[in-house]
């Protein structure tokens, strides 16, 4: 697996798209920091961008990479190597190369600005961690969708729909339900449904870390109670990690039975 990962990674970091993705974060972070002059605000803005863009790029690149390399994958399948190693290697190569663009693209401007002299360094680390794990989750899901669909158009469509659902529709439905059932106590429902969507969960974790939950009213207080408690924080980290393992498991199971 490590061998496949290594070569996939080298292939991908040299691609034009990695450079474009890196430059995007790099420029955005520079502009935000030097126009705003406020590291904490820059982190919040970057969070809003990463939470939507990270999953989208993960999904789109995952699908494209899988379908693009499908003929080479056939050559690999004929080598003395387990199927699992091939697909996990390719997937990790992709997730790491995207994460590298993210870490360097954000890291360089923030370090230039003086991140190490500010108190926001832990918040910045949380931002990178969230970006990394979202990339990981969504590129994994893209790999699974591609494995499950021979038809490229269908695979691509499903992947985009999945992203749209998680990033946009989920919140809409969530909000509608809150309005419909406003007569009832909804704290726990709100908590559980936010925790089940990795994008929402990441957003909340960062908001709470930045301590601006007081802006969110009563529900914010409930959330803060939950997440600030040791077990709540642990639970949400575990759920995010579980989200990262679901696609890995799905890829392994799907690859085992598939005909190429």
């Amino acid at each position: 697996m490590i061998k496949i990962l290594k070569y996939s990674f080298f292939d991908l970091i040299r691609s034009r798209w990695s450079l474009i993705y890196f430059s995007f974060y790099f420029l955005l972070a520079f502009v935000l920091l030097f126009l705003n002059n406020d590291i904490s605000k820059a982190i919040i803005t970057m969070m809003n961008v990463i939470i939507i863009l990270g999953p989208l790029i993960g999904i789109v690149f995952g699908i494209m990479y899988y379908y693009n390399s499908s003929e080479f994958t056939e050559l690999l399948l004929a080598q003395p190597i387990k199927r699992r190693s091939i697909f996990l290697g390719q997937f990790l190569g992709l997730a790491f190369s995207l994460s590298l663009s993210l870490v360097l693209g954000l890291g360089i401007p923030f370090i230039f600005y003086g991140l190490f002299r500010s108190e926001e360094i832990l918040n910045f680390a949380a931002l990178l961690w969230i970006g990394f794990i979202l990339t990981f989750i969504f590129s994994g899901i893209a790999f699974y969708i591609a494995l499950a669909n021979q038809n490229r158009i269908k695979g691509f469509g499903m992947a985009i729909l999945f992203w749209l659902f998680m990033a946009v529709i989920y919140d809409g439905v969530f909000l509608l339900l809150l309005v419909w059932f406003r007569e009832y106590p909804l704290d726990n429902f709100a908590l559980i449904s936010s925790v089940l969507n990795p994008i929402d969960l990441s957003r909340i974790m960062i908001l709470l870390k930045l301590d601006i939950s007081s802006l969110m009213g009563y529900t914010g207080a409930v959330f803060k109670n939950f997440f600030a408690s040791g077990s709540g924080l642990l639970a949400s980290y575990l759920i995010l990690l579980a989200w990262a393992f679901v696609p890995v498991l799905a890829i392994v199971l799907k690859a085992k039975r598939k005909d190429f």
Partner: protein, 239 residues
């Protein structure tokens, strides 16, 4: 060398291989022929473990291949379409496969033979189709394994490279390797193959020496024989 017994494979409702049994002797040169969709590629992919048969058994050198992967270390495979990660260099793709197999290879010799040295530091996306196919050949032949499986090996080669490939295969034959190849080019069959495995609709229509098939149909040569079988088969399907 290879023993296949009662192999079945369906893709949805489409039955691609129907109760197919086949034995390939060690050291024999076999051309797998058949019209499009007769199951040639599926058969090869079953041997390599890329397609999982519904039932039946495949044994290579006496051991069952199902759910196994180490047996592939004894097989060289050349796929039909050569497409490689576009940002890797030629020498990197070669070292990648050497890394995976974790053993020495005769890549230097083959690179020289196919005159690929000027391309070693080029990225694969910049290569022409024919050059990619040459890289494909190097990757397939460099491990010097006793069993060679070639899927349409002559695709996209220029005449010079084609002659070189044929000479290379002829050398491998002399070394006593077992070779399986598919092709639509009858001359290649006549020049190289000893035996023919003729597939029709997922079953073996004929297996045996090239001359046997011609005699069976009382035709002049292999080309006419195959044309007769193809057209007869189409008529049956229409009626």
């Amino acid at each position: 060398m290879i023993k296949i017994e009662r192999l079945n494979k369906k893709f949805g409702k489409l039955e691609v291989l129907k109760d197919l049994s086949l034995e390939i002797r060690k050291g024999s040169i076999n051309a797998i022929l058949g019209p499009n969709g007769s199951g040639k590629t599926t058969l090869i992919k079953c041997l390599l473990g890329m397609v999982i048969p519904d039932n039946g058994s495949i044994k290579i050198n006496g051991s069952e291949v199902k759910d196994q992967w180490k047996y592939r270390d004894e097989i060289d495979y050349m796929p039909q379409i050569a497409n490689f990660p576009s940002n890797l260099k030629v020498k990197e793709i070669i070292s990648m496969l050497k890394d995976i197999r974790n053993r020495e290879a005769r890549d230097a010799e083959l690179i020289e033979y196919f005159e690929l040295t000027p391309y070693l530091n080029k990225q694969l996306s910049y290569l022409s189709g024919g050059t990619k196919q040459k890289v494909n050949i190097v990757l397939a032949f460099m491990f010097d394994n006793p069993l060679l499986i070639l899927d349409e090996p002559t695709n996209g080669l220029d005449p010079v490279a084609l002659i070189k490939l044929k000479e290379l295969i002829a050398k491998e034959i002399k070394l006593g390797k077992t070779i399986l190849f598919t092709t639509h080019i009858i001359r290649l069959v006549e020049e190289l193959a000893e035996d023919i495995v003729f597939l029709l609709e997922g079953k073996i229509y004929y297996q045996g020496p090239v001359s046997g098939l011609i005699d069976k149909h009382k035709e002049l040569d292999l080309e006419h024989t195959i044309a007769t079988i193809f057209s007869k088969h189409v008529k049956e399907e229409v009626s």
